[in-house]
Symmetry: C2
Amino acid sequence: MAIDRIIRVDMTTGDVSEARAPEAYALLGGRALTSRMLLEETDARIHPLSEAAKLFIAPGLLAGTAVTTSGRTSFGFKSPLTGGTKEANVGGQLGHRLARLGIKAIVVSGASPDGWKRLDIDGKGARLSGADDLAGRSNYDLHRELVGEALRTRAAATIGPAGEHRMSSASVAVTDPEGRPTRHAARGGPGAVMGAKGLKAIVVDDAEGVRTVPGENAKEFKGEVVKFSKMVLDDPRVHNTSRYGTAGVIKFVNRDNVLSMPTRNHREGSWEHADSISGQVIEELGKERGGKMLPCMAGCIIKCAILYNDEHGEHVTTALEFETIALLGSNLEIGPADAVAELDRLCDDIGLDTIEVGNAIGVAMEAGVLAWGDWEGTKRLLDEDVRGGTPLGRIIGGGTAHVAATYGIDRVPVVKGQGLPAWEPRTLKGMGITYSSSPQGADHTAGMVTARGATPDTLVKQSRQEQLTMMAVDSVGVCQFTNALPGDMAAFISERFGEPLSEDELLTLSREAIETEREFNRRAGFDREDDRLPQWLRDEPLPMPDGPSTFDIEDALIDEVWG
Amino acid sequence: MAIDRIIRVDMTTGDVSEARAPEAYALLGGRALTSRMLLEETDARIHPLSEAAKLFIAPGLLAGTAVTTSGRTSFGFKSPLTGGTKEANVGGQLGHRLARLGIKAIVVSGASPDGWKRLDIDGKGARLSGADDLAGRSNYDLHRELVGEALRTRAAATIGPAGEHRMSSASVAVTDPEGRPTRHAARGGPGAVMGAKGLKAIVVDDAEGVRTVPGENAKEFKGEVVKFSKMVLDDPRVHNTSRYGTAGVIKFVNRDNVLSMPTRNHREGSWEHADSISGQVIEELGKERGGKMLPCMAGCIIKCAILYNDEHGEHVTTALEFETIALLGSNLEIGPADAVAELDRLCDDIGLDTIEVGNAIGVAMEAGVLAWGDWEGTKRLLDEDVRGGTPLGRIIGGGTAHVAATYGIDRVPVVKGQGLPAWEPRTLKGMGITYSSSPQGADHTAGMVTARGATPDTLVKQSRQEQLTMMAVDSVGVCQFTNALPGDMAAFISERFGEPLSEDELLTLSREAIETEREFNRRAGFDREDDRLPQWLRDEPLPMPDGPSTFDIEDALIDEVWG
């Protein structure tokens, strides 16, 4: 079955049209597709929030199929946070639904001249209509209304108040299998771009779509699906993720020979109260309160999403991730888990990237705007200021570098303007190589390299390899926690489309896609100097058992990643 | 007489030292010197507000002499506003005093670990001391205390609250001949850099300095001085400036075939109430109120500074410049002159670049933060919010692009992050070439090209020539309103230093200095894409009599300015 409809929505005129994807896009999906279309269809020098900007939404190449976790969706745009190319990747129920309606991509252009709009897509087509009744509303409320009880056929992608305010840390919330807005295309400000277009919500109903997209070589494809699921379930790394979610790593990264638990605006790498926010503690609390591990989309067999209830058994959040816990927890010296879970819910509700906002508040604490560990103050900051769009809220919502510029703070944890993930580049130097050289800015999902003790040359090679693998992962649309390798993905694509694709050919496609992103950045004015970590990560050491550790990979080696 | 002392102040250790300037700096002064030292002594990638950043202060090559207007001073630094090289040039009493003490440059490095400091320089040397008693105080109050009645020997350079808040639009205020803080090294945030170092004030007393610095060829130099003064006084352009100040151009630029009076965040080029803020009206008011035209430094024969009194004859401000009137007046739809004069005084008192802040408030008005023409609101914004460092005040103080990022506004009047001067690049396209290609960002003083009707090629040549001339002007330290030509300046340098320098050699030095600034920017990550006006100036036309006019000079031509 061909998934080749490209829906185009011109917010300026209100026109909605549709066309077949060109043949050249046949083997492009997800990130590879959105990055390619961004480069081809927009001038890299436009303002990211201007009418000339576009938002590209594309499920991966395997979307709609029975491949586990394959419903991930890419949001591509010029980032108001970095000023460069951006792909924000999200799980949830959106990707499969789009694919099952045969939709390869949605392209939103222009800007509504007359108030807020919603886009409804189902078996009958795509329709744009007024949505001023949705204005000002937050994500939990929105998804309850837009998806309601239709959990088996509907998914929404919405912006909360942060996106309406066009904040650079605004996310797009995507419905999870329980109908909640807990999955976010978060990084780089997709919510701001959607907000600038005047698009409050996209609602997709695939009741009239196919049930499952088959492979062209149906039998072989099915064989690959079964083999892959077995591989995933047999992987001990997955067992850990399935039990504790990503929060399972906290015990490990907080140790004094890893120091990857950012504390006090990345000043330390270990927090004395880290136990109070660890995956193990969360598991224990869950046993008492009816917590459980859930899939973020139908068909996922990993189930890393922590459903977190409060002490009365009431739902608080379903995406208490390691990054969220680290940036909104230890980095701000906030705990225990209950406190962080509430902040996470607020971010989901308002529509915010937790990594960016955690970094932003860390810098605000450094500036003395509020005290380290001030949970009540942080809640107010999110719930009142950011939600309400007060001046202080807009400062925070503008992201990490924005807060630093506002308060004249020189210790800014960003690369290419994007806030640093928890994985610490001074001790896990391969992460620093990825943060520096990825066209996406500081992004741990761009290529995880957590090896320690390897030579710089080896780390450069690993970072390149992982970045190419992650480009493939984000383009076929599976979850990185499957630990899918290029060979696995090449096999899937071969059987899905009925044309043999080797592992090398897949990696060549990945390399081309990375170059597409780098070319956009070049046109937007980026050069080698943008492929750098901030200087303070080279100057301020973390105390490792074998001596103080800074990020000390030479610039020339960073430049070798992409040659 | 050799002016070759370089005073170095390490704010971290409190050390003050001094050394002879190297021979290589012999013919470098003012901007050429600060830009060169910035490149040689700092890593272009440091944060502009970090301890590793430096602030360079240097009078021009002719400082201390009898050459009219020759006491201008350069403040060089990495700009927190643009992220690139920056020279902010200022008149007032500072430059001559430094030169008469034999001081070629002051270099401030490090950052005070223990509160605010002041630097006192006189015939006995330079001393750093605690100044917590000055903290929080504004410029009028400060200069009254620091200079007091010693008008003939003292000058101060201070930061107001904006600099203490490390705002990117913060200026350094320099004493005028009446002891007031009305001359500002304003552009690009020198006040923020000084604030980040913990240096609240520099006080220079030249009572024990020489009276006038002579030329090596004393007689020939004196001859050049007399000839130059006569040339300046005979120039009809100077007559206009001496009578109306820079405000004299308003009647001209507001016309429908110039459209260079920015209105409503540069949306229009002519304001219906421009008469109420024109130089002619200000002259009339001055006659009734005891207004007068003053020199900004002793020995200036042009006297372009408008002393502006209120209706009771009380002093309001002494630097009501065209740029200030345009950006804080028509651009915000604020008038009449009394209203703008009060805003100007507030900016001088708080320590703010009026061009940057006028643009910033224009964008804030576009975002709906306050209404067009809301003078009371604008006063409150400056006097309470910016002065007090409230969140809203910090948003405004962060500058034009910062306000735009905060509110998600895509119509941002900046080049290289710096707010657009009044001179309109869509109708005076040569100005657009200068704004684009100057290493300083949008800066009208970097090279005025107001010719209309010339071909793009001619405008490129004129911009290059004017930029080289202005580099020379800013390096010898005279005022641009003398209309000094390279030949005049080469003659002065030859007789001042007793070694012949041709006009071509002077222009070669200028070219080298421009390349020095461009090299710093390159190292800081700038490339050709930074040499561009914002896209909306190419898209949004102004209505000229012969048809709509946009900025339409091709990128390739812009790149030809520096080849």
